[in-house]
């Protein structure tokens, strides 16, 4: 067990760096704070990761990867479109609930160009063919008459926006409605239902209770 202590330290550092970077961002984070959070000193940080840039790069990629990961399995299953939608929404909300800090970090980092994010997406999707499998799934549903003719890209942007936005706006929501917690079971169960119903039925008065899902 030559390196047992080493791996432990390295993981502790990565975990600490992740917490600090997520909360403060790259510029706001301090190597000293990361060291302290990991229970070591600053010199040891540089021993393992040479520079702040390198350490950040590691954490950064891991975070981006985690953001797109949970959606993969649903794309491989072959469900009717309404079930697919419900699964998609539920899994994504659940994934966001587990890492609520990630969204702010991700979209802030995207200012820098989104190169890593785009590569991560492509890498994730590569196994499912050359074209974007999410777009393909929507397109297929349209062609099969499962849903009316929508623009697949805009449709995806709408779903993602509806899922992600409450987490982004969480600080405002909890201030404007002091009793409300975006991360609670109640809110998320309700959110899931409202997103699906809105997408599926719309709000036109004639559509009331057309389906009970």
């Amino acid at each position: 067990m030559i390196n047992s202590g080493t791996e432990n330290t390295e993981q502790r550092i990565l975990a600490a760096a992740r917490r600090v970077f997520l909360q403060k961002g790259k510029d706001g984070a301090r190597m000293q704070e990361i060291a302290q959070e990991a229970g070591i000193n600053q010199a040891l940080l540089h021993y393992y990761f040479r520079t702040k840039d390198r350490l950040y790069e590691m954490v950064y990629r891991q975070i981006f990867d985690q953001f797109f990961q949970p959606l993969m399995p649903i794309l491989e299953a072959d469900l009717p479109f309404d079930r697919f939608l419900q699964q998609f929404i539920e899994i994504y909300l659940e994934s966001l609930r587990k890492n609520p800090d990630i969204v702010h970090f991700i979209f802030w980092e995207l200012r820098r160009g989104g190169k890593v994010a785009a590569r991560q997406i492509r890498r994730r999707f590569r196994s499912l063919g050359p074209d974007n499998p999410l777009l393909k799934r929507i397109h297929r549903a349209v062609e099969a008459g499962e849903i009316r003719r929508v623009d697949p890209l805009h449709f995806i942007l709408s779903i993602l926006g509806m899922c992600i936005y409450p987490f982004l706006a969480r600080p405002i929501i909890s201030r404007v409605f002091s009793e409300l917690d975006v991360l609670s079971d109640e809110f998320l169960a309700r959110r899931k239902k409202e997103i699906f119903q809105l997408i599926w039925e719309g709000i036109a008065p004639g559509n009331e209770n057309m389906e009970e899902k």
Copy 2:
């Protein structure tokens, strides 16, 4: 005209600070860069705004205020709900197009608690009564039978999410679809239409072309 030069300089500083803070964030911004951007030196910055914190505070409030401002006039007009919705979407998309950098900045800053944001919202809405006028508008539409029974809060979160998300994800979108520009007339016109149709009709196959809006 004793202070003519002064006001000019102050405004130039604020404009420069705004640009730099929006792009780099508070921690990433450098007083030197702001000075340079304003065409002055660093000492003069401190002469006008004493500290970086104070300067940031000014810019920060201005940016948050601007984010919620454009929605106000629509709430005062008395339109049928479908028209209200279309106006809301159009005006908000247009407002975001004019200041695409704002969204990343806003949601990143919200990590710190959203105190200023919440206060800004309340201040904006105060003139329209004690309750949130956006919620009230939705509620009224439900009671009047203009739309089916939706949860007003979730409905608002959905609209805002659909409007804001493309701007947040813009770097990814432009990389995954290299020909596509979120800020273009074509995209935004399409976006507006797709959001409204999705909200109004949903995607259930039976609803195809029920309305031509």
